[in-house]
């Protein structure tokens, strides 16, 4: 157990943008929501998952809707209290702690605000270990968990709680209500007991985000090795490619941003060519027609000088970037995990091969 305050929030936000693997949205507004809450209500207690009783009610918090609308409306004051009331009353017991559902992007920040405003602890765990585009893509699904009862509140004080017959229905109904409420709402989903959280959750992810963020921030100050080596060491990352962006193709289909970014090699990679495909998050990294990484492993595009992570919507011609691979949470590598988030689900014609195995060809830094 330890406290999280404003400087920790800054590092967690930066680390979360790396774990976002290209997606997750710009955490700036989320960061301000967390800072606003902590300034007003005090620092947040971060619990190690083992400190949570087996029968405690743990509730993940997120936002649903358009990030550009969140950037105008932010959140209100009473939304997390409204979520707390509706969920506790539904279960007939108080919520013990909040947690993030995804570690990447905006949704890493909002649970901190919820914890601060309610004076409840935050658990150092999430359901992805990164960001993913679709609702069912959480480790809890593998354990038979369900996204509902899902509670949804808006800034005006409207609240509702869904029970549905399938995740598809959850998506359908929740999106509909989200748009009616103005396009940006706070939600709770996959409510669970402590025991279930401990069994299927990605433990220690908030702390890992904070470490990654602090590493990116301080990487220039290291003296014993080059900043790049230090960055790879701390992130346990595999350097997949370094290049200059020569093209970005984009298409909006449904509510997702699809696309492909093409890179011309620089430095040691001069003469080579690579591309990264994405659907909000990065899905595959291919160098000279050889697939070097796919989902569910994390493919992160970072600035080649500052190592600041670059979300897919900020990719543009001329940027010098490094493509880094990070191993995904082990549960994603099981048969059930691959069914949910493996390359074939996203339309990539290859079986999943772990990042570290694909990279043995000498293209990556181990």
């Amino acid at each position: 157990m330890r406290k999280i305050g404003i400087s920790e929030i800054e590092d967690i936000a930066l680390g979360a943008s790396l774990l976002g693997a290209g997606g997750g949205g710009d955490p700036y507004v989320g960061k301000l929501v967390a800072i606003g809450a902590v300034r007003e209500c005090g620092d947040v207690t971060l619990l190690d998952p083992e400190e949570v009783p087996d029968d405690a009610l743990v509730v993940p918090i997120a936002m649903m809707g358009a990030p550009t609308i969140l950037a105008e409306k932010a959140v209100g004051e009473g939304e997390y209290k409204a979520l707390y009331d509706i969920v506790s009353s539904f279960f007939g017991k108080p919520i013990y702690a909040f947690m993030p559902i995804e570690a990447g992007g905006v949704n890493s920040m909002l649970p901190i605000a919820a914890a601060a405003r309610l004076g409840l602890p935050l658990v150092d765990v999430d359901g992805m270990g990164r960001a993913f585009p679709e609702l069912q893509m959480v480790t809890f699904t593998i354990g038979g968990g369900c996204s509902t009862p899902m509670a949804l509140v808006d800034e005006k004080g409207n609240s509702c709680i869904f029970r549905t017959v399938s995740n598809k229905w959850t998506e359908e109904l929740a999106r509909s209500v989200t748009m009616s409420c103005g396009g940006s709402v706070s939600v709770s989903l996959y409510p669970m007991e402590g025991a279930f959280m401990k069994q299927y959750g990605v433990k220690g992810i908030v702390t890992r985000s904070q470490q990654l963020g602090s590493a990116i921030r301080m990487v220039k100050e290291c003296t014993d090795s080059s900043p790049e080596e230090k960055f790879l060491e701390i992130t346990e990352g595999f350097r997949l490619f370094k290049g200059k962006i020569s093209d970005v193709k984009r298409e909006v289909r449904g509510a997702f941003n699809f696309g492909k970014v093409i890179l011309d090699g620089i430095g040691d990679y001069k003469g080579k060519s690579a591309y990264v495909e994405f659907q909000n998050e990065n899905l595959s990294a291919v160098i000279d027609d050889e697939i070097l990484a796919t989902v569910p492993d994390l493919i992160c595009v970072v600035d080649s000088e500052t190592f600041t992570p670059i979300p897919t919507d900020a990719l543009k011609y001329g940027k010098r970037v490094m493509v880094v691979g990070l191993k995904c949470f082990p549960l994603w590598r099981t048969r059930e995990g691959i069914e949910l988030v493996g390359p074939r689900y996203f339309g990539i014609d290859t079986d999943y091969i772990p990042l570290e195995k694909r990279c043995k060809g000498g293209n990556a830094n181990v």
Binding site: P67, A255, A314
Partner: protein
Amino acid sequence: MYKLGIDVGGTNTDAVLIDEDLKVIASIKSHTTADIYDGILHAVKTVLQESGIDPAMIGQAMLGTTQCTNAIVERKHLAPIGVLRLGAPATLGIPPMVDWAEDLKHIAAEVSVIPGGYEYDGKEIAPLDKEAARAFFSRLKEKGILSVAISCVFSTVRNDQEQEAAKLCREVMGDDVHVSISSEIGSMGLIERENATILNAALYKVAEAFTEGFAKSLAKEGITNADVYLSQNDGTLMTMEYARKYPILTIACGPTNSIRGAGYLSRQKDAIVVDVGGTTTDLGVIQTGFPRESGVAVTIGGVRTNFRMPDVISIGLGGGSIVRSLPDGTVTVGPDSVGFKITEEALCFGGKVCTATDIAVRLGMTNLGDPAKVAQLDEEFARKAMGTIQAMVEDSLDAMKVSSDDADVILVGGGSIIVPDNLKGAGTVRKPEQGGVANAIGAAISKVSGNYEQLVDYNEIPRETALKNAKEEAAKLACEAGAIPDTIEIIDVEDVPLAYYPGNTCRVKVRAAGDLGRK
């Protein structure tokens, strides 16, 4: 009829006089004085003397200055203000200025978030709470505050509530109060837009000072027939009155003017501008005659905003950059520099420091100072140093390019003598003759613009119609800003589809600009 362009930077105050054909008649580069007006007076006096023209023949005078940027960065001369946000119950989770540094936050004497604001489709989140607004303005009046910043959720979509609040403000506080409304200052993203509006409100005194000072120095030199303008950060001009209302728009006019001036001097509408100063080199891109805008959020003095700012990268290379030989044989150039002390400290001027300028003199690239004083520099060392300089410029050139084709490069700035002519990635490299005062020229040749931005659902209004409307609106705005109607061109059209919105909603942005008319 002549145009006078003046640029007041951190180190130099430059002035140019150009004729109706936009030909440079006279120019001067001098040091910026602590009280900027002496520097301006000196520069104006000198170009008048040099050109011999009658001051009454100057029809337009333009000033570009970094006063506003400096005021924010140095936390000086900022006025106390009131901050009002319309948007409750939304946005209450992020109070205004929540991540501002303490030494800047205190400019807000009163801060309030009251019911109001719009949804993305223009429906009200809540009606504007007029009572709360009046009470807020009364409190400000009591405290003697004379400037107010008003922001509203989705005011970029609909700004009725901001207009209404501004009206109430004047009713309560009197007509002399300065009112800044966010829909007139920033674009999408409440916090960044609100931040920019707050900064704008705090700058009104700085704006009053430099507009009055500029007018006075012109009058002093007998320039009584000129329409007076100030440079904006998008390469266009605004009237003194507009500048007093929107001082925040002068923020990045320095780099913008130098990019445009360079483009004009070389007669190129699409190129990369490399402006080599004493300590830094700034690279910018000119696209269809205007500086390419930065895509990322710009922070000013640590405050995040969403301004239209030129996309500029700066590297630590300049005429005064210090050159060193390392034990392993490599030669480094900069980032430290002797700056404006170059005429004392560089080897070619009799000093003791080996600078980039000395390397250029040694290799015969230029004739500054006394070549004999650098003759003792080893040729191999000098070539290595020039290699380093070349690589630095080539690298940053590559980072600014928009395609893999060779780019046209325009080299300007007092330090441009240190850059070699053959640069990889550059198709042509031009060093226009008046390149040293490119920024003052940029100020003098600026156009005026109108910018129109709106969210449109193409299912309700077909794209053709929406774009046509937007272009008309932008042209109208350009006209209002002083553009000659016949010269107005649409210089940028952008429609960005928004993923999560219902229907087929796009953000439509149109910019129109035209030549500045004679009033």
